[in-house]
């Protein structure tokens, strides 16, 4: 379990002016383990186009608070989550949706303009995966429910895409290469050959890398890193899997989730993904996951909606009941995710107890692309690293980066700052950290 191969990735990232500045050798210090001996996990659940802040913000604060309308689907989880409100993404809103998304998840404003932009630094899930993802088969598992675009970036011009087929994810995680711990499974005989092939590919990447421009070299590095990760994964798959009581092959999802009446089966797919991701954590295949329900600007059709989601946020009149319903639908999927994680026992508790699950969206009010009142919910708490069961509200429109800093330190990353220049913070959010 402790075979750790340091990745060059973290070093390279740090030199690119990334958000997180590490002390010394980050990976040796960021061990992110609970007292129970189980590892801490990080998960992200994002959706696009925000919410309706007036119907989202709960009444009261601290442990005695009343859930708001839009949070009602999460009622059963009130004691296991902490709702953060009043935070603001502190960048100029030059590019609707994208300014918010980039700054929320990288801590810095985007690079470029509306026509052509990218991130300046990796997103938080990548930063955490760098720190705690090196021990497992997968640095992270990313899935996209409505579409493949997650809001995860390895770095500038290096977007991460999510798996959009639950069946394909199942095949990868629990297919021919999976062996249940304790059972005498057969090692997939093709693993060795695959490694030989990938080794040859790595040779070609090295050879080509020496001939190209500096900018291209960075792109090839990303390619090489991914090939190397894949190679290491295959090597690990030849070893016995970690002996984890809760780990077993889950049931197979549908091969296909065809549209019904021209609408995607969002809930069915999301839940299939949640189940797979939960078991993947229980089997310690990964410690970082990222579920994108739908991307910013998505016009996904929710059940019963008369128009695409993004269109509704701008064109639906009055109180925007369909936008409200869409937010509720997303919260129901979040509730299911909590349930899927909580269903799996781990130590004296469940997988959820050992997780820090961050649910957020790139804006609050969709109609005006507001960057204040950012939707931000933490759940699980990573074995008490952040206290759950509270509503923590900033009445001073504090920088959301502070909350992100708290999340990073809760996962034992030895960071000293998050963000850059005007958005930089050097400490966490006191209110959040005081349990």
């Amino acid at each position: 379990m402790n075979r750790f191969v340091p990745s060059r990735r973290g070093l390279l990232r740090g030199m690119l002016g990334g958000s997180a500045v590490f002390l010394g050798l980050p990976w040796l210090e960021a061990r992110a383990t609970c007292d129970t001996g189980f590892p801490k996990r990080f998960g992200m659940f994002t959706w696009g186009n925000g919410n309706l802040p007036d119907r989202w913000t709960p009444q009261g604060s601290g442990v005695d608070y009343t859930l708001s309308e839009q949070l009602m689907p999460l009622a059963a989880w009130q004691s296991r989550m902490t709702v953060c409100t009043g935070l603001e993404i502190k960048v100029p809103n030059t590019s609707p949706h994208w300014s918010g998304a980039v700054a929320l998840l990288t801590g810095q404003e985007l690079d470029g303009d509306d026509d052509s932009w990218t991130v300046r630094a990796p997103t938080i899930d990548e930063v955490i995966a760098d720190a705690i993802g090196g021990d497992t088969l997968y640095r992270s598992v990313l899935v996209g429910v409505a579409d493949a675009e997650t809001f995860s970036y390895q770095g500038p011009n290096a977007p991460n895409f999510g798996e959009t087929s639950p069946f394909a994810l199942y095949e990868r995680l629990f297919g021919s290469t999976f062996r249940e711990p304790g059972k005498k499974g057969v090692v997939d005989p093709s693993l060795g050959r695959r490694r030989s092939v990938l080794d040859a590919v790595m040779g070609d990447l090295d050879r080509l890398s020496s001939r190209v421009s500096a900018a291209d070299r960075v792109r090839l590095e990303a390619h090489s890193d991914a090939v190397r990760d894949l190679e290491q994964r295959l090597a690990r798959l030849e070893e016995d899997p970690p002996d984890l009581a809760a780990c077993e092959r889950p049931s197979t999802p549908d091969e296909d989730y065809p549209d019904i009446d021209g609408r995607q089966q969002l809930s069915a797919k999301c839940r299939a993904f949640a189940d797979l991701v939960a078991m993947s954590l229980a089997c310690d295949q990964t410690r970082v996951f990222n579920i994108s329900h739908h991307r910013p600007l998505s016009n996904v059709l929710f059940p019963g909606a008369t128009d695409g989601h993004h269109n509704l946020t701008h064109n639906e009149g009055g109180e925007q009941p369909e936008v409200h319903d869409a937010t509720l639908a997303v919260m129901e999927e979040l509730a299911y995710l909590y349930e899927a994680l909580d269903r799996i026992p781990e130590g004296d508790g469940s997988v959820l107890d050992h997780c820090m699950v961050l649910a957020c969206s790139e804006i609050s009010e969709g109609r005006t692309h507001r960057l204040d009142e950012v939707p931000f919910i933490l759940a699980g708490g990573a074995c008490g690293s952040i206290g759950m069961g509270r509503h923590v509200r900033s009445d001073g429109r504090e920088n959301v980066n502070k909350a992100m800093f708290s999340v990073l330190t809760a996962l034992d990353l030895p960071i000293t700052s998050w963000g850059a220049e005007d958005t930089e913070v050097t400490g966490g959010w006191d209110q959040l950290e005081g349990a």
Binding site: T94, S95, P96, D113, D114, D115, S116, S140, L142, A148, E149, Q154, G155, N157, A158, P159, N160, F161, G162, E163, S165, R172, R193, R194, S196, V197, L198, A200, V201, G203, D204, L205, L208, R211, V212, S213, D216, R219, L220, A222, H223, A226, V227, D229, L230, D261, G262, N299, L301, T306, D307, G308, N311, H314, N315, E316, G317, R367, T368, H369
Partner: protein, 532 residues
């Protein structure tokens, strides 16, 4: 520097509009075509251009033959400047992307073996693992096709060593299968390497690859690689003669289709999302049929060497029964597609279901979106996003504002909106006589639709007149030249001198696309590359 090219001349006049006059003097000659001098080339930067999904599929077929099933799932293409081919030179592959390359390679290689197609791919069939000379020969042939250049000796040796070990442990068939997966995952296959010869030019093989992908949307085949290997593409005259052969090749059709598909984002037609409760003509086959229509019409214009701007104004189209029903015209063929004249009201590709349905929402039209396409893609006038913090809601249809034009008036009246909406919406309103799937209508909400407007000062009565106005826009050819440049070179930078020259050359050639392609691939600019 190129000399102006003059053809035998009797009439000293440019080709514009004078095509059919009998030449003075009686004998058959071409009218003069004076192509302007190419300006001094600005060399492009060296760049690794990853294959787009479509180029990957074509490359698999070139490498492994038509039996290779290239319908694999790769990570999505990312656009830059509206082109996947440009984004492919900017973005890095993701972890999922690399996994998908491995899965795809396995799937493709397994299929080749299962189909019994392996033996056809081997230039030499080794008798056993020890038959290295033969194995290396086969590896050289496959590798050259995969990497689009001859392998270097140590590359052959490395691949040969890998093959041999695999063959010893698992048999020659598995060894070939794994060799194929190695080639399919190699960066030399996945990236189009354009590093140059060190003296400021693309190598012959790099030029050949770039030209082949532009003209045929596929990598060079063995016959073409043979010419490069033999040095037959170095001399400018040889190169020009070679290009003439390529331009006469039927594969040019695929090249045109790929360019237009990327340029106008037509691949989205494969998954058109229209509410069937609102649009009776919505159907899963409608999008693909619309794609076929538009691509065939454009290709026909190109291969017929007609004025490329006819794509905007021709009424001649290629439709199947479903499109015919949508357009309310008799189907030219009861089964499949056929040529026919559409009504005057449907001008060129802007009257096709492809444009009209793609640039509309699932439940209704979008004048802004249609106007945006014209401005941004056809006129190279990008429109910025709305300011982030304003309320962009428009009123619901009501008695006072029954049509979309009425309801969008709110944007044209507000100072923070009008700047951009005044550029897009008047164009979009011209197409309001076509609903969200492209069906003709004259009223909305009981009120008559008004399709008239102005494009930068020139009035038009309806979409057909707008198309005519667009056709004469001075920026059209420079814009389209720039788009072609971005697509062909995959570069973000488009030197103005080069694209202006392309526009002039295009005009000089009677606005036909094929001669422009010839000028482009033979130009200094197309071949000039800086050292890394």
């Amino acid at each position: 520097m190129m000399q102006p090219r003059l053809r035998p001349v009797l009439l000293a006049v440019l080709a514009l509009g004078c095509g059919n006059d009998d030449p003075v003097g009686g004998t058959d000659t071409d009218p003069v075509v004076v192509v302007p001098d190419e300006p001094t080339a600005v060399p492009v930067q060296p760049l690794l251009r990853r294959l787009t999904s479509a180029q990957y599929a074509a490359s698999v077929v070139t490498l492994l033959g038509p039996a290779a099933d290239a319908s694999v799932r790769l990570e999505p293409d990312v656009d830059e400047l509206g082109f996947a081919s440009v984004g492919a030179g900017v973005n890095a592959v993701s972890a999922l992307g690399v996994e998908r390359y491995e899965d795809a390679a396995a799937q493709i290689a397994d299929r080749v073996v299962a189909e019994g197609a392996l033996v056809d791919l081997l230039a030499c069939e080794p008798t056993g693992p020890a038959d290295r000379a033969c194995a290396d020969e086969a590896i050289d042939a496959l590798g050259r096709r995969a990497y689009r250049r001859p392998l270097e000796a140590d590359e052959t040796a490395a691949l040969g060593d890998l093959w041999q070990v695999l063959a010893e442990d698992h048999g020659t068939e598995t060894a070939w299968r794994d060799l194929i997966t190695t080639l399919l995952q190699s960066p030399w296959f996945l990236y189009r390497v354009e590093l140059g010869d060190g003296a400021g030019q693309l190598t012959d093989h790099e030029w050949l690859t770039r030209t082949s992908f532009l003209l045929f949307a596929a990598p060079p085949d063995d016959a073409m690689l043979d010419r490069a290997d033999a040095g037959e593409l170095s001399d400018p005259k040889d190169r020009a003669a070679f290009v003439d052969e390529l331009l006469d090749d039927p594969r040019l059709d695929a090249g045109v289709r790929a360019f237009v598909t990327e340029w106008w984002h037509l691949e989205e037609l494969q998954a058109l999302d229209k509410d069937p409760l609102i649009f009776g003509h919505a159907h899963p086959e409608l999008g693909p049929a619309a794609l076929e229509e538009t691509l065939t019409v454009v290709s026909d214009i190109v291969l017929g060497d007609a004025d490329f701007r006819d794509v905007l104004t021709t009424n001649r189209s290629y439709i199947d029964p479903r499109l015919a029903a949508l357009y309310e015209v008799p189907a030219p063929a009861l089964d499949g597609f056929g040529w026919t004249e559409l009504p005057r009201s449907r001008p060129g590709v802007l009257g096709h279901a492809s444009f009209l349905a793609l640039h509309a929402h699932a439940t209704r039209t979008s004048a802004t979106d249609r106007g945006l396409f014209v401005r941004s893609t056809l006129l190279c006038q990008p429109i910025p996003a709305p300011p982030a913090d304003i309320d962009t809601t428009i009123p619901e249809p009501n008695e006072d504002a029954p049509t979309l034009r009425d309801r969008l008036a709110v944007h044209l009246e507000s100072p923070s909106c009008a700047g951009c909406h005044a550029l897009t919406d008047p164009i979009g309103f011209a197409f309001e006589q076509f609903d969200g799937v492209g069906r003709w209508r004259t009223t909305e909400g009981g009120a008559t639709i008004d399709p008239s407007g102005e494009l930068d000062g020139t009035a038009f009565a309806d979409a057909a007149e707008l198309a005519g106005v667009l056709r004469e826009e001075p920026i059209l050819l420079p814009c389209w030249s720039t788009s072609l440049w971005h697509y062909a070179t995959g570069r973000i930078e488009a030197p103005l001198a080069t694209t202006d020259w392309m526009a002039e050359a295009w005009a000089a050639e009677g606005h036909a696309l094929r001669p422009l392609l010839r000028e482009l691939v033979l130009s200094d600019a197309f071949s000039a590359v800086e050292a890394p």
